[in-house]
Each structure stands twice: as structure tokens, then as C-alpha cells.
């Protein structure tokens, strides 16, 4: 099941398939929905009753055919709205979206399903919405059923389906309609692990076939794993467009900021943290800066911290992540009960020497965090440094190890 090859093949990109041009979307929130209320609140007071909300602000970006775009952002940042605008389900207030090719969208749970009809009828309904004729659906039906693994439930009314079964069927139909562009909101998250794997494999196959996918996900691992580009939304605006890995980094920073805002009480919030992380550097034990490692050697992680005022005892920690956001190693003064001594204002450099870091081939990121003596966070620096470890053709995974394979003598029958 699992894939051992990495996704380093470079895809030539096709023509523009979606063009989002300066799109804004303003929702008018109204609470009066009956004629009487409308008439009562007509005129000036009626205006006051309305509340405007900018869900998308001046969004501009292009999608090239053949690319896989991860759309990320915090809850309410406008991802689903943007996907609906691209899908033509809602019109932008200003700006325009132009697009070509056949589209399939998987936007919300149960989209396009009628609860009272059987799964079979719904497959036909859903397929016809996505533009398939009856004959085409007939031809694909067995394959859809097999992909969804719904089995005998196909003839049960879908209102008795579990959330996962809904998504299985909906995804199965969507991927069998031969789309050029596939829009997927977070729905896949309700599928079980085996099904998610299957979806990811299908998406990889789609990539091979030059189809375009725009995917909303809250999982940094998923985005870095399958997307080649990332678009980060923040409160309706584009915060970042670029490589998927960098996009998840920007997203993490936004989340971190948000977390700080909600944790700190407002009084404390006003004074900015007195200390900042300036840089993270990876060196070998001789002090030479390292970008490429052989694997298994000792490394030194240097974190430069700037204190704007003298400080008492303080703490630091560092961690090493894979591009999927999975931590492979972490250490810190809090864990080891060895806080840094009081420091004067100015730059202090802390040094983590890791003896024989047994990492297998791939890319790794180094993060660092500093906090005061009471462990109140000052600063966190995601992906402050990056290094690569040379591939070893004899193994896969993230841990570097040696193995010997022997065939034990087998006595013949």
C-alpha cells in the first residue's frame, strides 16, 4: 500500500485552467426574512439592520493545468467560499473567475445527494449533475461501486449512510466523471485511514494524468505530501502563494500568532516579548555550516537569541521535522531541567550538539522556541533552517539503520 518512491518527479505545467482575477465577496448578513420585517425595517433603519462581511478580498491567482494546489487557512478564512466561487456556485461581488475544461467538485458532505433515494439512484443523480449521461454512468457504475466499497448498501436510502459512506460514494462518483479540474473541500477527512490513503493514491494517479486538483486541507502533512503549490488565506486575503512546503510554514505562523492572541490576556498582550530568535544554523562539530549531511554524523544546532533587556533564567527548545510536519527529534532545557542562566541584553547563542543524528535520506527542517523562566513563550521560529540528508538506496523511512538480510536454511519436504 504505502509508497516508497518520493514525489520528486518534475511535471511540466500545462496551460492556465483557472484564472482568479481580483475576486472579492461580500456577504450581507440579514436577520429579517419575512415581508413584514422587511417593510418594518425598510429605508434607513433597514440599512442599519444589514451587516456586511468581506469573506474574500481582492484574490488574484492562476492555476495551471496539471498542478495540485493546497488551499490552507484558519477556520473562517474563506477557503470554502473561494472554492465555491471557482466552482461557479456563488458569484463574486466583484472581480471575475474564468475557467475551462470539465469540472467536478466535492464541496460539502452529502452534496448533490437526495436522502430519500438509494445509493444507486444517487450515483446516477450525482453523475448527471457532473455532466455524465445515463450510458456513461452505466459503463462506470461497477467501477464506482468497487471504488466506494459500499457493497450491498448501494440499494439502501442514503439517509441511513454513515458520514464516511457518503464521502466514499461522492468521491467515487466525482473521480469517475473524467474531470480536468477537481475541487475538494475538507470532506475527505471523515473517511477512515484506508480510504484516505486510497483517495491520495487516486489523486496521485490524477496528477500523472495531468488533471488539476484544488484541495482544502487542515493537514500540513497532507498538503506537503501531495500538493505542489500552496495558497494560504488569512481573513479573506491571500497571505501567501508558492511552494506547498513554504505555504504550510506561513500557515503555521498564522496559527501560532492566533494562538498567542487567544492565550495572552489583553493586558500582557501590549508588551511585546523582550526576546527574539534571530537565526538557526546547522553546523558540523568543527563549526562548518552544513546544508547536506551524509547521515549518522554529529551536528550542532546553533540558535541566536536577541534579548532586548536583561533577563532572568530562561528556556529554549528545538525540534527537527520532516516536510510532512512530523517531528523526528526534539530536545529542550525544560525537558532536561537545565534552564539557561540569566543573560544581559544583547545576543546569546545557544548550542545543541546532537551526537550521531541517525537520519535517513530526505529533507529536514529545524524549529526553535524560547520562553522565560516560567515557560511563558517569547518566540517560536518555524523552519528556521533546512538541511538534506543523502539518500541510502538500501533503505526507506526516516531512521538510518543497517540491516543484514539472510535466508535461513529451509529443510526440504
Amino acid at each position: 500500500m504505502t509508497r516508497i518512491t518520493d514525489h520528486s518527479e518534475v511535471m511540466p505545467l500545462g496551460p492556465k485552467i483557472v484564472e482568479v482575477n481580483n475576486v472579492s465577496k461580500t456577504f450581507v448578513l440579514r436577520r429579517d426574512n419575512s415581508l413584514k420585517e422587511r417593510i418594518v425595517t425598510l429605508g434607513r433603519s433597514g440599512r442599519a439592520h444589514r451587516e456586511k462581511f468581506d469573506a474574500l478580498k481582492n484574490i488574484t491567482f492562476d492555476v495551471e493545468a496539471g498542478s495540485t494546489i493546497g488551499l490552507i487557512g484558519t477556520n473562517g478564512s474563506g477557503k470554502s467560499t473561494l472554492l465555491k466561487v471557482i466552482g461557479g456556485i456563488i458569484d463574486p461581488t466583484s472581480g471575475s473567475v474564468r475557467r475551462r475544461g470539465r469540472i467536478a467538485a466535492l464541496l460539502e458532505l452529502g452534496a448533490g445527494f437526495h436522502p430519500d433515494l438509494s445509493g444507486r439512484d444517487n450515483v446516477y443523480l450525482n453523475a448527471s449533475i457532473l455532466g455524465l449521461s445515463k450510458e456513461e454512468t452505466d459503463a462506470e457504475f461497477d467501477s464506482i461501486l468497487a471504488f466506494s466499497e459500499i457493497g450491498d448498501f448501494i440499494d439502501t436510502q442514503v439517509k441511513f449512510y454513515s458520514s464516511g459512506m457518503y464521502v466514499r460514494l461522492a468521491f467515487a462518483v466525482a473521480v469517475h466523471t473524467n474531470p480536468d479540474l477537481l475541487l475538494v473541500d475538507e470532506v475527505l477527512a471523515v473517511g477512515d485511514e484506508a480510504f484516505q490513503r486510497k483517495c491520495m493514491d487516486k489523486i496521485r494517479q490524477f496528477q500523472q494524468e495531468g488533471r488539476t486538483i484544488v484541495l482544502v486541507s487542515h493537514s500540513a502533512a497532507q498538503v506537503t505530501e501531495i500538493c505542489d503549490r500552496g495558497v494560504v488565506l488569512r481573513a479573506g486575503e491571500i497571505a501567501f502563494v508558492g511552494s506547498a512546503t513554504e505555504a504550510t510554514k506561513v500557515h503555521r505562523e498564522i496559527l501560532e500568532e492566533k494562538r498567542k492572541l487567544t492565550l495572552d490576556d489583553p493586558a500582557e498582550e501590549e508588551e511585546p516579548a523582550s526576546s527574539k530568535i534571530r537565526s538557526i544554523t546547522v553546523r558540523n562539530t568543527e563549526g562548518r555550516v552544513l546544508k547536506n549531511l551524509d547521515g549518522g554524523e554529529s551536528v550542532v544546532i546553533e540558535v541566536a537569541v536577541e534579548h532586548s533587556e536583561p533577563t532572568g533564567e530562561w528556556n529554549s527548545s528545538m525540534s527537527i521535522d520532516t516536510p510532512h510536519g512530523q517531528q523526528v527529534y526534539g530536545a529542550g532545557t525544560l525537558r532536561s531541567h537545565t534552564p539557561h542562566p540569566a543573560a544581559p541584553a544583547g545576543v546569546s547563542v545557544i548550542r545543541y550538539e546532537i551526537h550521531e543524528l541517525p537520519l535517513a535520506g530526505g529533507q529536514y527542517f529545524v524549529n526553535a522556541e524560547i520562553s522565560n523562566g516560567e515557560n511563558k513563550q517569547w518566540d517560536i521560529f518555524w523552519q528556521g533552517a533546512m538541511f538534506s540528508v543523502a539518500e541510502d538506496p538500501d533503505q526507506s523511512g526516516t531512521v538510518r539503520a543497517r540491516s543484514t538480510i539472510t535466508t535461513m536454511a529451509v529443510s526440504p519436504e
Binding site: 500545462g14 419575512s34 496539471g66 466552482g87 471575475s96 475551462r100 464541496l107 443523480l125
Partner: protein, 302 residues
């Protein structure tokens, strides 16, 4: 990277980039989109019909019980007790044919008005030309209509007044008029109903008025007599007869109620029907324009 991918890219590069906004689509494009989705239209109709009687024991029989009870009441109360039957031969057939064609109008219009809201699950989550939903209601109303029509013909045969006259030529135009007007108004009202849910209640009042302002449970000649008796101006009769529902009902009577004579109908009924169809098509176009203006915000209002 496969050849298929490169082929796909080449094909995409040849296609023009089209704007997604619905307001920018004309009536013609919409019509083409609806035709492209005709499989969906068929499925929606089937879904409506299937889902409507899903868990009921009598199923499709309910499409008959309703008009039959109505027929019984009108025949008994209006025909026998109030005496309307005296001026109208074959009163039962007269009423039932009127109720059948009016039922098509009323079922289409009331279901169409609520259709966008009722299909919010689809409207909000997938893109299809939204005119499909009010159109589909006409489809499922036609199914009901078909069942009632069979009963009507059976009744005609049993009562020994088989509808085998030239009047049958009026059948199709009558149905066409009802469908065009019900769909036009349905498209318009379904869009407004998204923003203002009062519209569906207004529709039921409108339908009640329409039932009584057409010669269904009384005769067209009775209206003429009332106008003469009260000394009202003759143009009132013209206004009354210009109502497309009235025209369709009269045409339907022409087809199935063989006991009628030419004096039971206004002059030039065929011409009136022709005009009603042309005006109806213009109305349909106008309503579609309004609909397409309003539909851009459907998904967020539901």
C-alpha cells in the same frame, strides 16, 4: 508524465476561458446548458415522483384521490345543491376536465415556487443551471397530470361520451399554455422565494383566485349572463377571457367535454390560444432574465 496528460493540456489550451459568473450568461447559453443536463432533468423528475410517495402505502393512488374528492365535492355541492349542473350537460366530465388541467397549473406553480429552496442541498453545493429545478417540477406535475388524464378518458368512455371530435386538436395547445405560464411564473417566484419566503404563501392564495376566476366549476356562459344581467360593460368579459388559464381550460373543455356547443366558448378560441402562447414565450424569456439576475446569490441566501 504521460502522453494523456500532454493531450489533455493541448485540448485545454484550445478551449476558451469562460467566466463562471451566472449573471453573465444569456438565455441562449442557459437553454443550451439545460439541454446538456437533460439527463439530470429526467432524474430529478423521477426523483420527485419516487420520493413523493416513498413511504406511503397507497403510493401513486394519492395522485387520484385528491382530484376525485374535489370532483365529488364540486359535483355535489355546486352541481346538485347549488344547481350549477342544470345549465351544464355532463357536469361531472366538465368539472373533472377543468380540474385536471387546472391541477397541472397549480401543481407546477406551487412546486416550482418552492423548488429552489427545496433543492437547496443541490443549489448550494454543486453547479447546475438552476432553471432545471422549476422545470423539473413541471415534469413531475405532468406525470400526475398523465395519470389523471387516463382516468378522465376512462370516465368519458364509461359515460358514453368518447372525446373523439376535432376538438381534440385543442388538447396540446391547452397543455402548452398551462406549462409555459406555470413555468414562467414558477421560475420568477422560485427566485424571489429564496429572498422572501412569503412568496410561497402568496402563491397558494394566487392559485385559489385562479381556480375561481376560470370556468372550471361554472360555465363560461354563466359569466356572460352575469355581465349582461348586471349591465356591466362587455370588455369585462374580454378581460375575463384573456386570462391564459381560462383560455387553457376552455381549450381543454373543447377537447374532452363533447357535450359543449360553440356558444359555450368565446369566438376565435384557436386564435386566442395562439396569442396566449406567443405572449407566454415572451413572459418566459422575461422571467428567465430576472431569474438569472437573482441567482448569483442563491447559494449564500439558502
Amino acid at each position: 508524465m504521460s502522453d494523456r496528460a500532454l493531450q489533455r493540456f493541448a485540448r485545454l489550451a484550445d478551449e476558451p476561458l469562460v467566466p463562471t459568473a451566472s449573471a453573465s450568461r444569456g438565455s441562449w447559453t442557459t437553454l443550451k446548458a439545460v439541454i446538456d443536463h437533460r439527463a439530470l432533468l429526467g432524474l430529478l423528475v423521477r426523483r420527485d415522483v419516487k420520493a413523493r410517495y416513498k413511504d406511503s402505502a397507497l403510493g401513486m393512488l394519492w395522485t387520484l384521490i385528491n382530484p376525485l374528492v374535489q370532483l365529488l365535492i364540486y359535483w355535489l355541492v355546486l352541481g346538485q345543491i347549488l344547481g350549477a349542473a342544470r345549465g351544464i350537460p355532463d357536469f361531472a366530465i366538465y368539472i373533472f376536465s377543468g380540474l385536471t388541467i387546472f391541477g397541472l397549473f397549480s401543481e407546477t406553480l406551487s412546486a416550482a415556487t418552492g423548488s429552489i429552496v427545496a433543492n437547496s442541498g443541490l443549489v448550494k453545493k454543486v453547479y447546475v443551471p438552476r432553471e432545471i429545478f422549476p422545470l423539473a417540477t413541471a415534469g413531475s406535475a405532468l406525470v400526475t397530470f398523465g395519470v389523471q388524464l387516463i382516468v378522465l378518458v376512462a370516465a368519458c368512455l364509461i359515460l358514453d361520451s368518447a372525446p373523439l371530435s376535432m376538438g381534440l386538436l385543442y388538447f396540446l395547445p391547452a397543455v402548452l399554455i398551462v406549462v409555459i405560464y406555470a413555468v414562467s411564473l414558477g421560475i420568477l417566484l422560485s427566485a424571489i422565494n429564496v429572498y422572501l419566503r412569503d412568496v410561497q404563501y402568496l402563491t397558494s392564495i394566487l392559485l385559489m383566485l385562479a381556480l375561481w376566476s376560470s370556468p372550471i366549476v361554472y360555465g363560461w356562459t354563466m359569466v356572460q349572463q352575469v355581465i349582461d344581467r348586471l349591465g356591466l360593460p362587455q370588455w369585462l368579459l374580454d378581460v375575463y377571457s384573456a386570462n391564459p388559464v381560462t383560455i387553457a381550460v376552455l381549450g381543454f373543455h373543447r377537447a374532452f367535454w363533447v357535450a359543449g356547443t360553440p356558444s359555450d366558448y368565446p369566438a376565435d378560441l384557436a386564435l386566442r390560444m395562439g396569442i396566449a402562447i406567443v405572449v407566454g414565450l415572451l413572459l418566459l424569456w422575461g422571467c428567465q432574465r430576472v431569474f438569472s439576475r437573482l441567482q448569483g446569490n442563491f447559494a449564500q441566501e439558502l
